[in-house]
C-alpha cells in the first residue's frame, strides 16, 4: 500500500535580484507599480531582474508502508523543500501529494521551545505542536524525561539548559511520537556522539515497528545503516531511486568529480603574472575497492604544473590544505631550487588513512628566494573525503582534523583464573 504518493510536484521561488527580500516594504511595492504603469522600458528591465528558481521540478514517487527512505543530494538540491512540502509547511507550486496517515516531521530539534518555560512545560508545548494529544504526552512523559536525562532540571527554564540538554530534550519528545510516518531532517548533526548513537537506535526502533521513515542526512553511514531505499536529488529533480547501496555509490561518484582537475592551455590567458603562469592543478587519487570516490583510505597525489617566465629564478612551492571551515590542516613546502624559463612540475603525495572525512581546500603559493610570494592561488582545488568504516557499529561523526592509522594496540597481559 502506498502511504505517500507524489505526482509531479514542483516548487517555484522568485528570486528578486533588484533588492533583498528582507527589505521589501509597501513603498517598494507601490513605487514598482508606478514605475510599471508609467514607463515601459523600466518594466522590461525589472522583469529581467526577477528570476524564477525551481527548487523542485516535476518530482513523482511513491512510498510504501514501512519503507525507510534516505534522501541524499547536495546542498540546494531540493531535499529540504521536499520535506517542507510533505510536512505541509509550504504548498507546492504545482502537482499534488496524497498522504495516508499521521505525519510527524522533525525539521529542527525543539521546535517551538519557549526559553522562559520550564522543561516540563516545554514537553507539553512541544508535544502538542508536534501533534501529540495530552494523554499521549502524559503517558510517555517519564520515558521522555528518562531518554533525555533531564530529571534534575525539569523545573528549570530551558534557557538555562546547556545546548546538549536542549537538543536531547527536543529529540526525546520527537522520538516518543507515535505517528505512522516520520520525517527527519539532519538532526544528527547536533549532539554528542553518545546521544547520536541513542538517536539512531531510536530511529531504528521506529523503522522496525513498521512505520514509514523519511530521513535526510549528509551522514551516508547513517543512511546506509537505517534506510532500505534512497532517493537522490540533484538541482530539484529526483534523478535516481532504488536500493540504498546503489544510490549511495552513484551519489558519491558524482560528488567526487567536483574540482579534481583544472588546466589552462594558453600561456597568455592562464592565471598568473609576468613571472609565473599556471598550467594545471590536479588530484590523482588511487581509488580503492574499485570505487570512484575518495574515502578516508584513498591515497592521492596532488600535481601542479606552471610556466616559469624568468631565467635563473630560485623558486619553491608552498601548499596549504584547509578544512572547509577554514582551519589550516597543514602547510608543506618544497626545497628552493634554481629554474630556467619553461614548464615546471611538482607533486605531493597525501597518504591514505591520513585525512578525516570532510571537505578540503588546497591553496598553492609560488615563492621566490624563499621569502617573497610571487603568486598565490587560493582555493586552487577542492575535494571531499568520504567516510569509510569497517567493523564499527557507531555512526556518529568521527572527531578530529586528521584520522591517521597509528600503531595502537591492546592485549591481555594477565589472566585472572576464577576458581
Amino acid at each position: 500500500m502506498h502511504v505517500i504518493s507524489a505526482e509531479n510536484i514542483s516548487k517555484k521561488y522568485i528570486i528578486d535580484h533588484q533588492r533583498s527580500r528582507k527589505s521589501s516594504s509597501l513603498k517598494d511595492a507601490f513605487s514598482n507599480t508606478f514605475e510599471q504603469l508609467f514607463s515601459r522600458e523600466k518594466k522590461d528591465s525589472d522583469f529581467k531582474e526577477k528570476e524564477e528558481f525551481w527548487a523542485l521540478k516535476d518530482v513523482s514517487f511513491t512510498i510504501d508502508q514501512g519503507d525507510r527512505i534516505g534522501i541524499v543530494g547536495h546542498n540546494g538540491a531540493g531535499k529540504s523543500t521536499l520535506l517542507k512540502i510533505l510536512s505541509r509547511i509550504t504548498d507546492p507550486t504545482t502537482g499534488q501529494v496524497t498522504i495516508d496517515g499521521r505525519v510527524a516531521s522533525l525539521l529542527e530539534v525543539g521546535t517551538g521551545f519557549h526559553p522562559e518555560l520550564t522543561g516540563r512545560e516545554n514537553i507539553f508545548l512541544n508535544g502538542a505542536i508536534l501533534g501529540m494529544d495530552k494523554s499521549e504526552i502524559k503517558r510517555s512523559f517519564d520515558a521522555i524525561v528518562d531518554f533525555a536525562g533531564v530529571e534534575k532540571f525539569l523545573d528549570t527554564p530551558v534557557k538555562r539548559y546547556s545546548s546538549g540538554m536542549y537538543v536531547r530534550l527536543g529529540f526525546a519528545i520527537a522520538a516518543h511520537l507515535e505517528p505512522e510516518i516520520m520525517i527527519i531532517d539532519e538532526v544528527l548533526a547536533v549532539g554528542d556522539a553518545e546521544f547520536q548513537k541513542k538517536c539512531l537506535g531510536k530511529m531504528r526502533d521506529v523503522s522496525e515497528s513498521g512505520r514509514t521513515l523519511l530521513f535526510v542526512s549528509h551522514n551516508l553511514t547513517a543512511i546506509q545503516a537505517l534506510c532500505n531505499k534512497s532517493f537522490f536529488f540533484e538541482k530539484g529533480q529526483l534523478i535516481d531511486q532504488g536500493e540504498t547501496t546503489h544510490i549511495v555509490t552513484t551519489y558519491l561518484s558524482r560528488v567526487s568529480q567536483k574540482r579534481l582537475e583544472r588546466s589552462w592551455e594558453d600561456v597568455n590567458s592562464a592565471p598568473g603574472n609576468d613571472q609565473v603562469r599556471v598550467k594545471s592543478f590536479r588530484i590523482l587519487p588511487e581509488y580503492v575497492d574499485n570505487l570512484i570516490h575518495i574515502d578516508v583510505r584513498t591515497p592521492m597525489q596532488v600535481q601542479f604544473e606552471f610556466w616559469n617566465m624568468v631565467d635563473q629564478a630560485r623558486l619553491n612551492l608552498s601548499l596549504h590544505l584547509y578544512s572547509y571551515t577554514g582551519e589550516c590542516i597543514f602547510n608543506v613546502g618544497t626545497s628552493s631550487q634554481p629554474f630556467d624559463k619553461g614548464l615546471i612540475t611538482g607533486a605531493l603525495e597525501i597518504p591514505g588513512h591520513f585525512l578525516n572525512d570532510g571537505s578540503y581546500v588546497i591553496s598553492i603559493m609560488v615563492v621566490k628566494d624563499t621569502s617573497s610570494v610571487i603568486y598565490n592561488m587560493e582555493e586552487a582545488l577542492t575535494f571531499d573525503v568520504e567516510d569509510y568504516r569497517e567493523n564499527v557499529s557507531w555512526y556518529g561523526k568521527w572527531p578530529g582534523y586528521i584520522r591517521p592509522q597509528l600503531n595502537f594496540s591492546l592485549r591481555q597481559t594477565e589472566n585472572v583464573v576464577n576458581d
Binding site: 521589501s24 525539521l107 518555560l117 527554564p157
Partner: protein, 275 residues
C-alpha cells in the same frame, strides 16, 4: 480515524474546520504559553495582570476627571464613563494589535512545523480576552464603589464582547497576513490604535458628536457602536447609545471577518516563503 490528506497548490483542506477542531488542545496550549510566559521572572508574577489595568484605570480616571474635563453623560459618575470605554477599547486594541503580529512572532513555528495556522491569531485573541476579563471584574468592583452598580442591560454584554472579537479578528487577520510580506504593518498598527482612541468615544461621550454634520461618518466606525453599546450595558440607559451605529458594526465587521478569513486561508500555506 483515517488521516488521509492531499497537499496541492493553493488549496487548503476541505475539512479545514474539522482539522481545527481536532487540534483544539493545541490552541489551548499556545494560549496558555502566551499567558504564562508573560510574567515569568517577575517578582509579583500573576498579580501584575491585576495591577496593570488597575494603574491604567487610576491614571486615566485622574487625568480625565480632574484635568481634561470633557462633558460626560448626565447622571453617570465621570470616572466610570471613562473606564467603561477604556476597558472595551483596551480589549479591542490589544486583540487587534496582537492578532496582526501573531504570525510574525511565531515565525519559528511557521517555518518548521505544520499546525492550523489560524491558531496563532486565535491564541492572541484569547490572551487579550483574559486581560479583558480581569479589567471587567475590576470595573464592576469600582462601579459598586461609586455606588452605581451595573444595570440589567448587562445581559447584552456577551453580544458586544462577541462583536469586539469579530471586529478585532476581522481587521487583525488582514494585517497579520500582509505583515508577513511587508513589515510596514508593524509600524502602522500602533499608529492606527493611537488614532482610534481619539475617533472612538473613549475619553468623551458620543453625545458630543450627535447632531454634528459628520455624525453619520462618525458612526460608520464599527468600534463606535461597540464602545457605546458596552457602556450602555454596564452603565444603563443614562449612557448614550445610538442603536443605528450597530448597523455598520455588524455589516463591516462580519464582512471583514469573512473576507480576511478567506484571505488568510489562501495565503497561510505560503507564509513560510515570505517570512
Amino acid at each position: 480515524m483515517s488521516y488521509r490528506i492531499t497537499i496541492k497548490a493553493g488549496g487548503s483542506e476541505k475539512d479545514y474546520w474539522k482539522d481545527l477542531w481536532r487540534n483544539r488542545q493545541l490552541l489551548w496550549i499556545l494560549a496558555k504559553r502566551d499567558i504564562s510566559v508573560r510574567y515569568k521572572q517577575t517578582l509579583l508574577g500573576i498579580a501584575w495582570s491585576v495591577i496593570r489595568p488597575l494603574m491604567t484605570m487610576l491614571v486615566m480616571a485622574v487625568v480625565f476627571s480632574f484635568i481634561a474635563r470633557l462633558p460626560g453623560d448626565p447622571g453617570i459618575p465621570y470616572p466610570l464613563m471613562i473606564l467603561g470605554g477604556l476597558t472595551i477599547w483596551t480589549f479591542f486594541s490589544n486583540a487587534f494589535g496582537q492578532v496582526s503580529n501573531s504570525v510574525l512572532i511565531n515565525s519559528n513555528l511557521v517555518s518548521k512545523v505544520y499546525f492550523p495556522r489560524l491558531f496563532m491569531p486565535l491564541s492572541a485573541v484569547s490572551v487579550s480576552f483574559i486581560d479583558f476579563l480581569i479589567s471587567l471584574v475590576l470595573f464592576i468592583c469600582l462601579s459598586f464603589y461609586y455606588n452605581y452598580p451595573p444595570s440589567i442591560n448587562i445581559i447584552f454584554l456577551p453580544f458586544f464582547i462577541v462583536l469586539t472579537f469579530i471586529t478585532s479578528m476581522g481587521f487583525g487577520l488582514f494585517f497579520a497576513v500582509i505583515n508577513v510580506r511587508f513589515r510596514d504593518i508593524a509600524q502602522l498598527v500602533p499608529f492606527i490604535i493611537q488614532v482610534g482612541m481619539y475617533i472612538c468615544p473613549i475619553a468623551y461621550s458620543s453625545r458630543l458628536v450627535e447632531g454634528k454634520w459628520f455624525y453619520k461618518f462618525y458612526i460608520m466606525n464599527p468600534v463606535v457602536g461597540i464602545v457605546d453599546g458596552f457602556k450602555w450595558c454596564l452603565l444603563g440607559d443614562n449612557a448614550y447609545f445610538d442603536p443605528n451605529s450597530l448597523y455598520s458594526t455588524l455589516i463591516i465587521s462580519i464582512l471583514a471577518l469573512l473576507l480576511s478569513v478567506m484571505y488568510f486561508r489562501k495565503k497561510e500555506n505560503t507564509f513560510v516563503d515570505n517570512i
